[in-house]
Symmetry: C2
Subunit: 253 residues, 2 copies
């Protein structure tokens, strides 16, 4: 199969996958770039098609199973469907993973995002949670969509390594409370503890809040402890993904 | 002074400040947003003019000294000169700080960037270095320009709190070696040490490398030790700004 024209209907549909509404409608999302396509091929996720631009010369590196459709596309088509200024020319279209309606948290460490907005920050935190040995990331309502192109890019394929679930943060915290796990908030208040003095844990939750407004009051009231990272200079705060990285690597046993 | 037309020559000049060549030529750079303008007013840097859009309602919060020219601009002009989709409508034009040709490193902790490319990563690292109590950040040749709009946005004003200098990373490391300070690289190799086992320091250097290729071989050969952050999951690496945050907060006494 070969598609050279940017006016082709399939090209239009791939381009629309940049929008959440269209991802839901088509039940698909797009991976852009060699590293992500490799990660998808290593995973058990269902790949619907792989798109290869004329300029892409590394097809032999990929070992694409016969049952996956390969579509050869022009460099113009690659430019149109990519969200990056210089696409590598290799894409995969994946089925959206099914959402499990019954919230279940396997034993392990969980990062919970309470209203974090920036897709790049969220993706970086999923990648860091993977590196820190976390079981998964719980993305609360009101955060950016997991399959947003920028978020997918900054996750670097970590959605294939750890669980990434969407749901209500308060429900998630309550479930952890029932299991007797500590749940750590990350807001500076009078009772907040220095993050480096609480120890290391196997099973726990860590909640990171919105970039500007922090965690919701309700979530804060349900945490076991709130932690702060002492600021030694004059910066008012840390970037949320940097703060999450410091906390995750310090708290995880 | 009031400027309503986007065709005005001063507007064109402000817009051009998004480009490094033009910043050098005009010897100016642009700050965009309330937080950054406040930080500039608190600092001792020379502010050439402050631009206020019609829609901006917080001018009373700013206490602008009488000697600084205020230019009232239309919302259209604000849109044209801003690099963000919804500008806050407040800008400051600053003189570019003079570059001191004689490299001098004051006592303290220094972050050194060896070929880091992404402006957002660099800005976040400067902000984190500020928060961690570092003396300054040394930006090696081949990294993005400090006054790139995206970099300025992610620094969040930390350039007014700590030193941000440009220069040759090898020279910087040699200067530290002469002073007898430890210089830590951040590349995984056979002799690399676990970052959490080297202790805490007052005066030292920490070198972070390029996002894809890491540090240069020459820089690596001049470090005291190379440190690694153990990866527990399946992620191949950490985002450079997250890794730098973990290392800075762990190493700084």
């Amino acid at each position: 199969m070969e598609i050279k024209s940017t006016a082709n209907q399939r090209v239009k549909n791939w381009k629309k996958l940049a929008l959440k509404k269209e991802r839901k409608k088509q039940n698909k999302y797009l991976l852009d770039g060699l590293h992500l396509v490799k990660e998808a091929l290593k995973s058990k996720e269902r790949i619907l098609e792989i798109l290869v631009a004329e300029s892409f010369n590394f097809i032999d590196e990929l070992n694409i199973p016969k049952e996956i459709e390969i579509v050869n596309i022009s460099n113009e088509v690659a430019k149109v469907i990519s969200q990056t200024p210089s696409p590598q020319g290799i894409f995969a279209v994946l089925e959206l993973p099914q959402i499990n309606k019954n919230l279940k948290l396997d034993d392990g460490a969980w990062l919970m995002l309470d209203g974090v907005q920036d897709p790049g920050n969220i993706g970086t935190m999923v990648r860091t949670a993977d590196a820190a040995g976390f079981k998964g990331v719980f993305i609360g309502k009101g955060s950016a969509d997991i399959y947003n192109p920028k978020l997918v890019r900054s996750m670097q394929g970590s959605q294939f390594h750890i669980k990434v679930v969407e749901g209500d943060v308060l429900e998630g915290i309550e479930l952890m409370n029932q299991k007797g796990w500590p749940v750590f908030g990350s807001e500076l208040n009078d009772e907040a503890k220095n993050y480096s003095e609480v120890g290391k844990f196997d099973n726990f939750g860590l909640v990171m809040g919105n970039e500007g407004n922090g965690m919701s009051k309700e979530a804060l009231s349900k945490t076991t402890d709130n932690l702060y990272i002492p600021i030694k200079g004059q910066a008012e705060s840390l970037n949320v993904a940097v703060a999450a990285g410091i906390l995750m690597f310090t708290l995880k046993k």
